[in-house]
C-alpha cells in the first residue's frame, strides 16, 4: 500500500512541531492608546472652542499680571508721580501708528487755548529771546495742543453774552502739565545744569516777573503778559489785547537782570553752600526724563493717585487670582473631607453635620465678611481675615457635592469587595471612592474661582475690605477710586472693569467647559 500523501489520520509524531516555540505567549498590545477618564475628558474639552479661547485668555491675563512689573512697565510698584495722575494711555511705540498718544479731546476758551499753546511756545523760548512765533511753537515737541478745533459761538444761558469756544481740540495731557515752580538745593541744581549740557534737553526756564501782567503767580505756565487771561502786548507802552494767529509772538514776562538777561534761579533761603534753596521754573516733561531716564510711558495710563495703572491692575489681578486659588484649594480640602465623612458614614453623623452646614449656609456672606474685617483685620491682617470669611461658608457647596458623590459610589460592588478584603474606612474613602468623585469636585473648585473674584472686588469696591496701599491694590479698589471721577477720566474705570469682566466671563466659560467634559453622561451627545 502506497503511503497516501493526504493521509491525515496517521501523522507520525516527529512531524509535529510546537507553534511559537521558544516564544512567550502574551496578549498583543493595543494598536492605539487606551482612552481613560481624564483622556476622554480632555478630548471632549478640546472640542469646546469657547472654553479653549477662555483658557487662552485666562493664560494671557495671568501672564499680564505676572510679567507687567518685569517687561511691560518700567515703573516699580511703588512708583508714583502726582503730576502725571489720571493721565490716559501713552506708549511711544504705539504712538507711531496713531494709538496711545496720551491725548484727550476737549473744548477750550480762547484764553485757555492760548495758555496751552503757550507751553509749547515757551518751551522753545528758553533763552528769553522773545522771537518764537505761535506757528513755531505749534510744531514744538513740547506742544500739548495737537489739533485746534473749529471756532464756534455758543450761548450758555439765555440772554447772556455769547461765548466763542474752540470745539474738539486734541490735547496731549502729559505735555499739558507744562512748567512748574520747584525748589532745589544747590547741589541738585548743579546736577541738572550738568545734565542739560550733556543731553541738550532743557529743564530750567526763566522765572516770571510777579507783576500786573502775571495772571496767577503760582501757575508757571503764564510766562507771557496777560490781562484776565488774554495775552497782551505793551510795545506801545499801553496794554493791547492780541488774538490767536500764526504770526503772533507772545510777549514774555520773564524776570531779567540789569543787562536784560533772563534769570533762571532765585535764592530762597537755606544755610551753607550745599543746602541753599533755589526757586526755579522747570519744564516738567524734561524733568521727568532727568529723574527717571526715560520719557513718560504708561500703557494703560495712570490711576487717580499717579501710580502706573498697568502695574496697579497687574497687582490687583495677581491678588484676586491668588486669593481665589488659595480659597478654592482650602474650600476643596475642607469640603472634601467634610463631605466624605458625611457621605460615607451617613446615619446620625450625616444628620448632625448636615444641620451644622444648614445653619452656616444661611449666614449672609456680606455680614460674615464685615464682622471678620472689623474683628480680625487689625490682628491678622486684611487679606487673611478676608480668606477666613470666604472659608467660613465657602466649603459648604463643595461638601454637598462630595457627599452626593459618596452616596452614589459607596454602595457599589468594588467598595464591598475592598471592604471584604479588609480595607480600612480611610483607605476605601481616599483610594476607592474619592478618585471616582474627583472630576466633579475639581470642576466645582474651578467654578468657585469667579465667585471669589466677584465677591472680593465687590467687598473692596464697597470699602468693607480695605486693600489699597502703596504697593498693593485690588480691582475693586481701583474701581471705587474711579467711581466719582470717571466721567472725566473714562480710562480709570474702563480698563479695570474690562479686565474684571473678562476674567469673570473666561473663568465661567472655562469652568462650564470643564464641567461638561468631566460629565460622563454627556459623552457622545455632541456627535
Amino acid at each position: 500500500m502506497m503511503k497516501n500523501k493526504n493521509d491525515y489520520m496517521n501523522i507520525p509524531k516527529e512531524k509535529f512541531k510546537m507553534v511559537n516555540e521558544g516564544q512567550r505567549l502574551t496578549d498583543t498590545k493595543f494598536e492605539d492608546k487606551p482612552v481613560g477618564y481624564l483622556k476622554d475628558a480632555w478630548i471632549r474639552f478640546r472640542k469646546n472652542k469657547g472654553s479653549i479661547v477662555a483658557a487662552v485668555i485666562i493664560l494671557v491675563i495671568v501672564l499680564f499680571s505676572l510679567l507687567t512689573p518685569l517687561i511691560i512697565s518700567k515703573h516699580p510698584a511703588t512708583f508714583m508721580d502726582v503730576y502725571y495722575a489720571k493721565k490716559p494711555s501713552r506708549s511711544l511705540t504705539l504712538k507711531k501708528i496713531g494709538l496711545s498718544e496720551g491725548t484727550v479731546t476737549r473744548t477750550f476758551s480762547g484764553a485757555g487755548l492760548i495758555r496751552a499753546i503757550g507751553i509749547g511756545v515757551g518751551a522753545e523760548d528758553h533763552d528769553g529771546s522773545g522771537q518764537v512765533t505761535v506757528k513755531e511753537g505749534l510744531s514744538s515737541y513740547y506742544q500739548p495742543i495737537k489739533k485746534i478745533g473749529p471756532l464756534t459761538t455758543i450761548t450758555e444761558i439765555k440772554g447772556a453774552k455769547p461765548k466763542s469756544i474752540y470745539n474738539n481740540c486734541v490735547i496731549e495731557t502729559y505735555l499739558e502739565v507744562g512748567f512748574l515752580y520747584k525748589s532745589f538745593e544747590q547741589d541738585e541744581y548743579r546736577r541738572i545744569v550738568e545734565w542739560q549740557n550733556e543731553t541738550g534737553l532743557q529743564i530750567l526756564y526763566p522765572l516770571v516777573e510777579n507783576n500786573d501782567y502775571n495772571l496767577d503767580p503760582l501757575d508757571a505756565n503764564y510766562w507771557y503778559k496777560t490781562k484776565k487771561g488774554t495775552p497782551v502786548t505793551t510795545a506801545s507802552g499801553k496794554a493791547k489785547t492780541v488774538e490767536l494767529s500764526d504770526g503772533l509772538v507772545l510777549e514774555d514776562n520773564y524776570k531779567r537782570d540789569a543787562e536784560g538777561n533772563p534769570i533762571y534761579y532765585e535764592y530762597t533761603g537755606g544755610g551753607d553752600h550745599d543746602t541753599a534753596q533755589y526757586k526755579v521754573r522747570i519744564l516738567y516733561y524734561n524733568y521727568y526724563i532727568y529723574q527717571n531716564g526715560f520719557e513718560p510711558e504708561y500703557i494703560f495710563g495712570t490711576d487717580s493717585q499717579g501710580y502706573d495703572l498697568a502695574v496697579r491692575m497687574a497687582g490687583g489681578l495677581r491678588l484676586s487670582l491668588l486669593l481665589a486659588v488659595v480659597v478654592s484649594a482650602i474650600n476643596l480640602t475642607i469640603g472634601a473631607i467634610y463631605g466624605a465623612i458625611e457621605g460615607y458614614y451617613g446615619g446620625w453623623i450625616d444628620l448632625i453635620l448636615e444641620r451644622i452646614s444648614d445653619i452656616l449656609v444661611d449666614v449672609p456672606f456680606i455680614v460674615v465678611a464685615t464682622l471678620f474685617q472689623l474683628h480680625l483685620s487689625s490682628k491678622v491682617g486684611v487679606i487673611p481675615s478676608l480668606i477666613f470669611a470666604f472659608i467660613l461658608t465657602g466649603w459648604i457647596g463643595m461638601a454637598a457635592r462630595t457627599r452626593t458623590q459618596f452616596y452614589r459610589f459607596k454602595g457599589q460592588e468594588y467598595v464591598l469587595a475592598a471592604r471584604t478584603l479588609g480595607a480600612k474606612d480611610w483607605r476605601i474613602i481616599w483610594k476607592h471612592i474619592f478618585p471616582n468623585a474627583l472630576g466633579t469636585i475639581i470642576t466645582g473648585t474651578i467654578l468657585i474661582i469667579p465667585g471669589t473674584i466677584n465677591s472680593e472686588s465687590m467687598l473692596s469696591y464697597l470699602g468693607i475690605v480695605k486693600l489699597g496701599s502703596a504697593t498693593q491694590t485690588s480691582l475693586g479698589t481701583l474701581l471705587s477710586d474711579a467711581a466719582n471721577i470717571w466721567t472725566n477720566y473714562p480710562h480709570l474705570l474702563g480698563y479695570p472693569a474690562i479686565a474684571l469682566s473678562l476674567l469673570m466671563i473666561c473663568f465661567n466659560l472655562f469652568g462650564n467647559g470643564l464641567r461638561d467634559a468631566f460629565n460622563p453622561s454627556l459623552r457622545g451627545v455632541e456627535e
Partner: protein
C-alpha cells in the same frame, strides 16, 4: 405636608436664633466709638450704662431679647438718625429698596422667561447660540459694571436720565411720582441685565430637558401641533423648578442690592448697611443683619414650599 411645613418652620426659627446669637456676640464685642461732642458723649454713655452695655455679654443678650419680645425694640440709632429706634430707621428705608427691585423684577421675569423659551425652541440654531453667548457674558459681568455702563450711555452720552436717584424732596415728596420713577430707570436697568440672563439660562436648561422627554413624543403622536405640545406639556413641566425660583427671588427683593444702592444713591436698606458700618452705628448694623438673615431664610423656605403647591406630585418631606 402640614407636618413638613411645621418642621421646616421650626428649623428656620432655630437657625435664625443661632445666627442672631452669633452676630449679636460678635457685634457687641466690637469697641464702641463715641462722638467728639462732650455733651453727646455723656448722653450716650449714660444711655449705654442704663441699657446694660457694661454687664456680662449673656446678660446683655438677655436684655436684648427681652426688649425685642416685650417692646419690639431692636436698639437705637445714635449716629444715622439720633435716638430713633433702629427698627424705625430700617423700615423707613424699605420702600425705595423694594421699589427699585420690584420694578427690575417686573421687567426681568417676563423677558428672562421669553428669551429662555425662544432659545430652547431654537436649540442649536444661530438664535440659540446668540442668546447663549449673550447670557454667558451678562451672567459673568458684575452688576456694578453694568451700573457704570448704563450711566455712561444714558447720562454721559445721551444725557436722558439723571446720574443718581433723586432725593425725596427733589422728586415731590413721594416715591411714586413720575419724576422719581425716571430717576430709578438706571438702577433698574443695571439690576435687570444679570437677572434676565440668569433666568434665561435657567429656563432654557429646564425647557430643553422637558422638550426631549417621552411625553412630548406621545403628545405629538396623539396629533398635537408642536406649539400646542410645547405650551401645554413641556412649558408646564418646565415651570415646576422655575416658579419656586421666581417666588424665592420675589422675597429677595426686600433685601435690595448694596452695591447698586451705593452707586445710584438710593436711600435703601443696602445703603443703610454701609452707613451703619462706616458710622459705627452698631444697633442699626445688628438690625440690618437680622433683617438680611431673615429675608434669606424666608426666601429659601417659601421657594421650597412652593414646589409642593405648584406640582402636586411632589410630596414634601415624604419618605423614600
Amino acid at each position: 405636608m402640614t407636618k413638613y411645613i411645621i418642621k421646616r418652620l421650626l428649623l428656620m426659627i432655630f437657625t435664625f436664633f443661632v445666627i442672631m446669637t452669633m452676630c449679636f456676640m460678635l457685634i457687641r464685642l466690637l469697641p464702641r466709638e463715641l462722638p467728639q461732642d462732650k455733651n453727646l458723649q455723656a448722653v450716650i454713655t449714660a444711655r449705654f450704662e442704663a441699657l446694660g452695655y457694661n454687664k456680662p455679654l449673656l446678660v446683655q443678650y438677655g436684655i436684648y431679647l427681652r426688649n425685642i419680645i416685650m417692646d419690639w425694640d431692636f436698639g437705637t440709632s445714635w449716629y444715622i438718625q439720633f435716638r430713633v429706634p433702629a427698627m424705625e430707621v430700617l423700615t423707613s428705608r424699605l420702600l425705595p429698596s423694594v421699589l427699585v427691585n420690584l420694578y427690575s423684577f417686573i421687567l426681568s421675569v417676563p423677558l428672562g422667561i421669553l428669551f429662555g423659551i425662544y432659545a430652547a425652541i431654537k436649540k442649536n440654531k444661530w438664535q440659540d447660540q446668540f442668546i447663549s453667548t449673550a447670557v454667558m457674558i451678562f451672567v459673568s459681568v458684575p452688576s456694578y459694571v453694568y451700573a457704570f455702563l448704563v450711566q455712561y450711555i444714558f447720562y454721559f452720552k445721551l444725557d436722558w436720565l439723571p446720574l443718581t436717584m433723586y432725593s425725596l424732596a427733589d422728586a415731590g415728596g413721594s416715591y411714586w411720582t413720575q419724576k422719581m420713577f425716571v430717576s430709578m430707570i438706571m438702577p433698574i436697568l443695571a439690576l435687570s441685565f444679570g437677572q434676565i440672563a440668569d433666568l434665561t439660562r435657567f429656563t432654557r436648561a429646564e425647557l430643553t430637558e422637558t422638550l426631549t422627554s417621552d411625553y412630548m413624543l406621545l403628545a405629538r403622536t396623539k396629533g398635537l401641533t408642536r406649539a400646542q405640545a410645547t405650551s401645554r406639556h413641556a412649558l408646564k413641566n418646565a415651570m415646576v423648578p422655575i416658579l419656586p425660583r421666581i417666588i424665592g427671588g420675589f422675597i429677595g427683593i426686600l433685601g435690595g442690592s448694596i452695591i447698586i444702592e451705593q452707586i445710584f444713591a438710593i436711600p435703601g436698606v443696602g445703603q443703610l448697611y454701609m452707613k451703619s458700618i462706616n458710622l459705627f452705628d452698631y444697633d442699626v448694623f445688628m438690625c440690618d443683619t437680622i433683617f438680611y438673615t431673615f429675608i434669606g431664610l424666608l426666601a429659601g423656605i417659601i421657594g421650597d414650599l412652593s414646589y409642593g403647591f405648584i406640582d402636586p406630585r411632589i410630596r414634601m418631606g415624604s419618605k423614600k
